[in-house]
């Protein structure tokens, strides 16, 4: 259990700042995810915590100890690599025992601890196997076991699930999360998969070009994205250009193509803005049904896609803007392509900033 503090960490390669003066704190026992597309700096950040990268600026603290320049092999952080990095010439047992042998533990204790860990990870019986004989899922668990058996202060995971097939990936999410809770270990998890991040994390840091775009709990990140980037990266989002008319909550208005609706939040300054609307929060009504015009946005159905548990519609607003709506199968009214309808955007839409 340890708390990790990053203070103004910077790292450049050539002219590019891969990490740009980044600060954050990861609390004791937290499951913290670094989320973002490739190139955003999340893996670089993880490797800085592990000690494989020395930052150009800033400090890294483990509990209250400055470990910015501490060599990697002295940090006591356990890491699980994306390709598992199992030692191909050593058996499962020897792989898991490696860290304990480096620490010169007694053979009997090593035997006991490795045995316990293998059992906990469901690997009993595989102790003498070579990595080449294992399935992807088994290798993953050996990598986890190897990192955890040394009882690290922090568990670091670099996209450990991305090489597994879909079903196994979802299973392993639960395994890892449960393990982390049981052991009450601080965990830093790197992924580009937003669903993974949402389902596993206590808090998520959404990264963009070396900076934190938004740091929040999964729920807050999903329902209250602060930027267009966040809205678009987490879940799906329609981003509609609107004109904001200032006012307090209940009075502020938004001008959309073909309609004026009540703004979901108070607006201080008017002007051009982006409205983020999640597809699953849109309701579709017949054009003539809406008695109260306020809040109903006219649109035309362009495409209807049946996906089993939901129906996905692509609709065009009066100015041609495309909007996607997901209707649960039970509530679907089978709108035909070309039909004229109105959309109710609901109160969960949000204005987001559009800064680049």
């Amino acid at each position: 259990m340890a708390r990790i503090t990053l203070e103004n960490i910077s790292k450049r390669y050539g002219d590019t700042a891969v990490i740009d003066s980044l600060s954050l704190t990861i609390e004791h026992g937290e499951f913290f995810t670094l989320l973002g597309p490739s190139g955003c700096g999340k893996t670089t950040l993880l490797r800085t915590i592990a000690g494989f990268i020395v930052p150009d600026g800033g400090r890294l603290l483990l509990d209250d100890e400055d470990i910015t320049r501490l060599p990697a092999h002295k940090r006591g952080t356990g890491m699980v690599f994306q390709d598992y990095a199992l030692f191909p010439d050593k058996s499962v047992f020897d792989n898991v025992a490696y860290g304990l042998r480096v620490r010169k533990l007694a053979a009997r204790e090593i035997q006991a601890r490795v045995g316990q860990m293998l059992e906990r990870m469901g690997l009993e019986g595989l102790a003498t196997r070579q990595p080449a004989e294992l399935s992807g899922g088994q290798r993953q668990r050996v990598a986890l076991a190897r990192a955890l058996v040394i009882e690290p202060r922090v568990l670091l995971m670099d996209e450990p699930l991305s090489n597994l097939d879909a079903k196994l990936r979802i299973q392993m999410r639960d395994v890892i999360r449960q393990l982390q809770r049981e052991l009450r270990i601080t965990a830093v998890f790197v992924t580009h998969d937003q669903e993974e991040a949402l389902s596993m994390s206590d808090r998520i840091a959404l990264l963009r070009q070396g900076r934190i775009d938004q740091l929040d709990t999964p729920a807050a990140l999903y329902t209250r994205p602060a930027t267009a980037y966040a809205a678009d990266f987490i879940g799906a989002a329609n981003l509609i250009r609107v004109l904001a008319r200032p006012g307090a909550l209940g009075q502020a208005r938004l001008e959309l193509p073909g309609a004026v609706i009540a703004a979901p939040q108070a607006i201080e300054r008017g002007g051009d803005a982006l409205l983020a609307v999640r597809p699953e929060t849109i309701e579709i009504d017949a054009a003539s049904d809406a008695a109260d015009a306020t809040g109903a946005v006219p649109a035309q159905v362009v495409l209807r896609r049946y996906v089993g548990y939901k129906v996905s519609y692509a609709l065009a607003l009066v100015d041609g803007t495309t909007v996607h709506a997901d209707i649960p199968a039970a509530a679907d009214r089978e709108w035909e392509e070309g039909a004229r309808v109105v959309l109710h955007l609901g109160a969960s839409c949000r204005l987001v900033s559009t800064e680049p």
């Binding site: 092999h73 890491m79 690599f81 030692f87 490696y98 860290g99």
Partner: protein, 567 residues
């Protein structure tokens, strides 16, 4: 994040400098490796260049050596002969090797697996051994020549162009074969299917699609064979007769300038280095500009040959293999044949040649084994460290190390020998006239191959494996020892065996560097051939072949090592 709770500064690392260096000794090792190579490669080459253009008395830069080279017909003729020999040999090797590669890559026929022995045969039979064997067959008293004369076929003299080209082609076509085979295997079969789908006949497809794609590889292999032919020492020396080429002339000039001003030998050596360097430069630009990378896709599958075609392919394969293995058989027969001076009495068997080689005059055998062992031990250790530095710890220093380590490949053995002998003749370090300089020459010449072999295995070890070990608490040195080395082990063994085997067969550098009593088996064989004692030479040849075959056999059969996996 509370700045107020910022702690008192903890020192980043408390270990003293030397202990830190021990934990990560790589920069220091890189420096040491570079210094070793500088001493045995760079410095000698510099000495060579200096000797070719600087007057030893006045210390002034003078080009009279090079002027003599251009004006003296003997030198220019030798140079022209070298070029001619190179070109003709290259064409011959490609004509033999490329079709063989095509046929083996694209067709299944009986006897095909025999062809896989070709690279092995080339390594087991050093070129001077092959020269001697063909001399015994087609030389003035050659068995085959006499037999053909009985049939009314009079062959031209084996000494001179005939012998040189014939033997060189038989020696070098294996390289052309290997190179073209690899290129054929790298072709994406889909492009040929696309051509056929678009309506091309088989011939048209071969000419307009397959051939152009193979052309860069063809050019690259042609240049490799060319440089090997031009740098070859034994074959022109043994079979050249009245025809002088650059490589033989360098050695002859070395002998004649012994004790005097080594100007002309240095000039000739510099010319030969420049020639090869030029060819390699051209080759590099061809490779970088035109080689087609086909990462995806598989090569076209081999088609089963039938009837006529199958039989002729099998016959051709058998014939080529037989001819390539023939020298070994000839050597064995010669070793056990009674001889009176240069005349071998075939049919009369004796053990006296072998007794002489093993009992009375075993010094060459002992010398060869000792020198090869010393070079292999030093070379394998060096290659392990150097390959790790080159693949995993790249830096400006290491890039320089990589370049200098590969330099000996561009320099012929004779040139290197001459460079070394003059560098360590006088001054603070005198190595000339000791076994050390001979072992150093072997080390420097063969270490590039060991480095390549060891590097190949390192490319298969992802960085994450070492990082995992470090993350688990192992220091960088400990991680190298406990994680990287075990995985490198097979490649290191392969590198060691290749180094041993090729060191045993080396002649062009050691023949310049040896002194009375330090003859190696190849040098002894060369001297015996020169004096006409072919049977005695054959006896050493048999021992040499055994010393090469046994470790190779143990490595490939017992330990199942992959000796030719790297390029």
């Amino acid at each position: 994040m509370n700045p107020a709770s910022a702690p008192a500064f903890a020192p980043a690392s408390t270990s003293p400098g030397w202990r830190r260096a021990l934990q990560s000794p790589w920069p220091l090792l890189a420096l040491i490796s570079l210094l070793i190579l500088a001493a045995f490669v760079l410095w000698p080459l510099l000495t060579l260049f200096r000797q070719s253009a600087v007057d030893p008395q006045s210390g002034e830069l003078g080009w009279h050596g090079f002027r003599t080279f251009i004006e003296d017909a003997r030198y220019t003729t030798a140079f022209a002969n070298s070029l001619l020999l190179g070109v003709v040999t290259t064409i011959g090797s490609l004509l033999l090797g490329a079709p063989l590669a095509y046929v083996v890559a694209r067709y299944d026929f009986r006897g095909k697996s025999l062809v896989a022995l070709l690279p092995l045969a080339t390594i087991v039979l050093p070129d001077f051994l092959v020269a001697q064997a063909w001399l015994m067959l087609l030389g003035n008293n050659g068995v085959l020549r006499l037999a053909l004369e009985d049939l009314g076929i009079d062959l031209p003299s084996f000494y001179g162009w005939f012998g040189m080209i014939f033997t060189l082609v038989f020696n070098l076509y294996a390289y052309a074969y290997l190179g073209m085979f690899a290129a054929l295997k790298a072709i994406d079969g889909a492009i040929e299917e696309a051509a056929v789908n678009l309506g091309a006949s088989s011939l048209r497809r071969a000419l307009t699609v397959t051939f152009p794609v193979l052309l860069p590889a063809l050019l690259v292999n042609a240049m490799i064979v060319f440089t090997l032919a031009v740098d070859n020492f034994s074959i022109p020396m043994i079979l050249g007769g009245k025809v002088e080429v650059l490589s033989s002339l360098i050695y002859i000039t070395f002998l004649s300038e012994m004790g005097g001003n080594p100007v002309m030998q240095s000039v000739l050596a510099v010319v030969s280095v420049l020639l090869v360097a030029l060819v390699l430069l051209v080759q590099k630009s061809v490779v970088e500009r035109k080689t087609y990378q086909m990462h995806q896709g598989r090569p076209p599958p081999a088609a089963r040959a039938r009837g006529w075609a199958a039989r002729s392919l099998t016959a051709a394969a058998l014939l080529l293999m037989a001819l390539s293995m023939l020298p070994a058989a000839v050597m064995v027969v010669g070793a056990f044949t009674k001889a009176r001076g240069p005349v071998l009495r075939y049919g009369q068997w004796t053990l006296e040649n072998m007794e002489r080689a093993l009992g009375t005059a075993p010094a060459p055998i002992v010398n060869s084994l000792l020198l090869a062992t010393a070079a292999t031990l030093a070379g394998t250790l060096f290659a392990t460290i150097a390959s790790y530095l080159i693949v995993k710890k790249r830096s400006a220093l290491v890039s320089l190390l990589d370049y200098v380590a590969m330099l000996p490949l561009a320099v012929s053995g004779t040139v290197l020998g001459i460079a070394l002998i003059h560098s360590y003749n006088t001054g603070p370090v005198v190595l000339t006239g000791t076994w050390i300089i001979m072992a150093a020459a072997l080390f420097v010449r063969k270490v590039p191959f060991s480095i390549r072999s060891a590097s190949a295995s390192l490319y298969n070890i992802p960085d994450s494996m070492e990082e995992a070990a470090i993350n688990l608490g192992a220091s960088p040195l400990e991680s190298f020892r406990t994680v990287v080395l075990p995985v490198m082990k097979p490649a290191i063994w392969a590198a060691a065996i290749l180094m041993w085997v090729t060191s045993l067969a080396e002649i062009s550098a050691t023949i310049v560097l040896y002194y009375g009593g330090m003859e190696t088996m190849p040098i002894e064989m060369f001297n015996q051939i020169d004096a006409g004692y072919l049977a005695r030479a054959s006896a050493y040849g048999v021992v040499l072949m055994a010393a090469i075959i046994v470790p190779l056999f143990i490595a490939t059969r017992v330990f199942r090592l992959e000796l030719f996996s790297s390029n």
